[in-house]
Symmetry: C2
Subunit: 255 residues, 2 copies
């Protein structure tokens, strides 16, 4: 009758943490749950995937990229001051760009084309794994419905992204001769955008999460967001690394 389950750092504290203790607890969530630890990422970065498997990753990840402005706008619409909204608006600019062909979503589409996918097919989202859709859409819903503090905290996976981006870019360039620096152009601006976004969001969370309940809620929000990323890689691994598991209707790589 016992159920073992992994306890997560910072999960059961009843006292108020100092802002720095809270930051440490948030970083511990990443150390335990960020998707750089997922076996699919190891395979991706180590050059162990086929081109079709990398295509499946690029295709599914497009839905995540293309949904970021939806979650940011949902949050922005609930921010109470022009100052906060201006701060958050930069994220919309980063992802949607200033003219056609610019911004993170357009760059991700270039990445998808660079690994051999048809842009219109990628944009149609037709071949998505259902699990990708459910996980990403859960993130948008979270940012639409949860308290502002938690919605902001859920963005903090960016604290952990510079490391994974460097690993990914160098690993993919070294290991796949059909991947060029131009194809991976998405990632370079993220190395400066992400830390800037984190500076604001982390300071906001450290200032506004003052009760034990709020502090546990922001830790849970970050854990939720790690789950969103992890679930997508579980589905990619299950569907495209193990043979014979592609769900009905999802993208089938060319053999």
């Amino acid at each position: 009758m016992t159920q073992l389950h992994n306890r997560t750092a910072g999960q059961e504290t009843n006292r108020v943490m100092t802002p720095d203790e809270l930051e440490a607890a948030l970083r511990a969530v990443g150390a335990e749950r960020y998707h750089n630890l997922h076996p699919f990422h190891r395979l991706l970065h180590d050059g162990a995937l086929t081109r079709g498997q990398v295509q499946a990753w690029a295709l599914n990840r497009y839905h995540y990229q293309a949904s970021i402005p939806a979650k940011d706008a949902a949050l922005l619409s609930r921010l109470p001051t022009a100052e906060l909204r201006r701060e958050w608006r930069r994220r919309l600019v980063d992802h949607d760009g200033t003219e056609p062909g610019t911004g993170g979503i357009a760059r991700w589409l270039k990445l998808a084309e660079g690994v051999g996918l048809d842009a219109a097919y990628v944009e149609s989202r037709e071949g998505l794994l259902p699990t990708t859709r459910f996980a990403v859409d859960a993130y948008v819903t979270f940012c639409r419905e949860k308290p502002i503090l938690e919605a902001i905290a859920s963005s903090l996976t960016e604290m952990f992204s510079p490391t994974i981006i460097r690993e990914r870019v160098s690993g993919m360039l070294a290991n796949y001769d059909w991947v060029s620096e131009e194809t991976l152009a998405y990632f370079k601006p993220r190395l400066t955008q992400a830390p800037r976004d984190v500076d604001f969001a982390l300071a906001y969370v450290k200032e506004h999460a003052r009760t034990p309940e709020q502090q546990q809620a922001v830790i849970a929000a970050l854990r939720f967001k790690c789950d969103v990323l992890w679930s997508q890689l579980d589905a990619l691994y299950y569907s495209y690394v193990a043979p014979g598991n592609i769900p009905p209707g999802a993208f089938v790589p060319e053999v």
Copy 2:
């Protein structure tokens, strides 16, 4: 640059189908995508799972069962007439019962206890796979946000459930000596409730889906719902059948 992807029955018709053709197209979705075709269900019914794996199934499926009244109430709240609301209200009674310990959710909890789980742990949803949560919550959101016709159509996976229930009950009783008929008491009432619910929902859909767009939308709604069920089994298979893949924080069976 080609992307193969499975085309689904009834997907690209531009003319109005007769009600019977529409029903046939809906049944074809089930024949292609209902989760009785998933390898996890084969393992479950054939007795090929360990007790811990069956526990993981019961635990995760509890979130689905317990969320059914949420999706039904979300839909009910948008139905325009007392007649329609009374019809749909029966589903709330079926799942929530008439007093403590009755109804489908309580019976599922008995099933979970019967396979060795602690009821309070199951109810807490602490050990859920993130993918289970995302898939099930997507279903609730769908029924809250989509047109009534599509929300009703998404319930039509019940057309396919009597077969799977019979297979499941006989397979589990024959193959697991720690599973009793009492443990599986959840399923017996479903054999009469599901066809009754289908009679109403299918008649409603056949009557109200009159344009090609509406007909394609109800087929897509049923496909979406099949995806919700399929994604849950993908996650169970990936996490609990293949070794070493349990995501951080999820239920870990006793060895």
